[in-house]
Symmetry: C2
Subunit: 245 residues, 2 copies
């Protein structure tokens, strides 16, 4: 009798070629599948809520797998963690309805991109946040962000989007939040295109540092052309924060 | 005409054999001296406020050096940071009186040891905090800490203290502070013996987890014998926070 197990995962993405399994390269999906096989003695494919890119971290990535293993969920967490490398961990496991699918059942996902502001670089924050020497204008960034909330074609903010790919997504919220020593950009959407959060963060930051006017976000969006958007910001400051079902 | 420059340093200690220069092994002192030589073209010995052990981090380590280099302090910060590895940085530079000495002028130093409390390990906090599955009794830890405040012989909490070493220190404050998701033990003293903070943290934690009574701290202190104290906790959760002059 098979069951469907839902896992919430956290990982430090630095050492991984992203989520998706690849031959001969370390990926988070590969690490989780290896741990499940070690615990259950059966190879079970793991389905994530979506791919995270190389170097991107997760606090609440969600995945599921089907198994005949009868271990209670809490025992499964400990057994999997004992078989995962120290930069990946299961934070929670629950039994889910048989038709639950980490990707197709997801209603919305939230990422945040974080930066610290300091005249000089800080070695203790270097792996988790972008370094800015001067504080950006958060009010201007919020004004720019407002142009991107709602249902739009986000093609300008996507890399490797073939012409026939549907690039319309609904951005439920795009918030710029001050945190001690810096800020975070929280993006909540029903789905994200490749590099979308990092491209949007790059666009907002150009506004925040005064290089672009807030209306530039609207212009880039309307262009539906990748060449109009700034380059994606570095991966090490991006976190998949949560997935809602 | 030589000047005395005081530097405030931050570092991620993971890759270093501690502060003190050693032949053929990476140390923070060695990295700072190499950067100074690269900038000033002269080899200048650097004096730290004290040694930090292998793996220990710093937010506010202080050191000084003497140089004939005429660069303004702020320019020196940028030039040194451009020549330091990414896990070490100068956070501030100031001209100090000629007789300033990072070690001998120091009045007190503050370290903190931090832990996070979570039923399951967290990959994103693994390099900076000790993992505890259950919340310890912070009130009991504070009761134990009170026994260690004041002027005492801390020999029990020191490793490698030869019999003729003066192991009397004044603990100005020993505070257990709740932080989001965990706690920190702040220790302020006029000087620290080897492994002293990590041994004290180990002692307090045994009290917090109910293995020892709070009075055990007083008993260990009075014994003046290293064999009476618990082992030092791991280095990766210890931070040299600030040095006061």
């Amino acid at each position: 009798m098979e069951r469907t197990v839902k896992l919430v995962l956290a990982y430090d993405g630095a050492a991984y070629q992203g989520w998706q399994r690849q031959p001969d390269r370390p990926t988070v999906q590969g690490a989780v599948e290896a741990a499940i096989q070690a615990v259950t003695r059966v190879r079970s494919p793991v389905h994530g809520s979506g791919r995270t890119d190389a170097g991107v971290h997760a606090i609440g990535q969600v995945c599921h797998f089907r198994t005949a293993c009868g271990l209670p969920a809490e025992t499964l967490v400990r057994a999997l963690n004992a078989n995962l490398p120290d930069d990946v961990a299961v934070r929670a496991a629950t039994d889910a309805p048989a038709d639950f699918h980490a990707r197709y059942s997801a209603v919305r996902k939230t990422y945040f991109y974080q930066a610290y502001v300091d005249p000089h670089r800080d070695p203790l924050r270097r792996r988790r946040a972008l370094h800015l020497r001067r504080p950006p204008d958060l009010a201007a960034m919020r004004k720019a962000a407002a142009h991107l909330v709602g249902r739009h074609d986000f093609r300008s903010f996507a890399t490797e989007a073939p012409p026939d790919l549907d690039t319309v997504r609904t951005m439920h919220a795009l918030r710029v939040v001050r945190i001690p020593g810096g800020f975070r950009i929280f993006a909540t959407s029903n789905g994200f295109l490749q590099h979308m959060v990092r491209s949007i963060a790059g666009c907002l930051l150009r506004v925040g540092t005064g290089r672009d006017d807030a209306s530039e976000a609207a212009r880039i969006l309307a262009a539906r052309d990748r060449r109009e958007a700034p380059a994606a910001l570095p991966a090490h400051a991006l976190f998949l924060w949560r997935v809602d079902y």
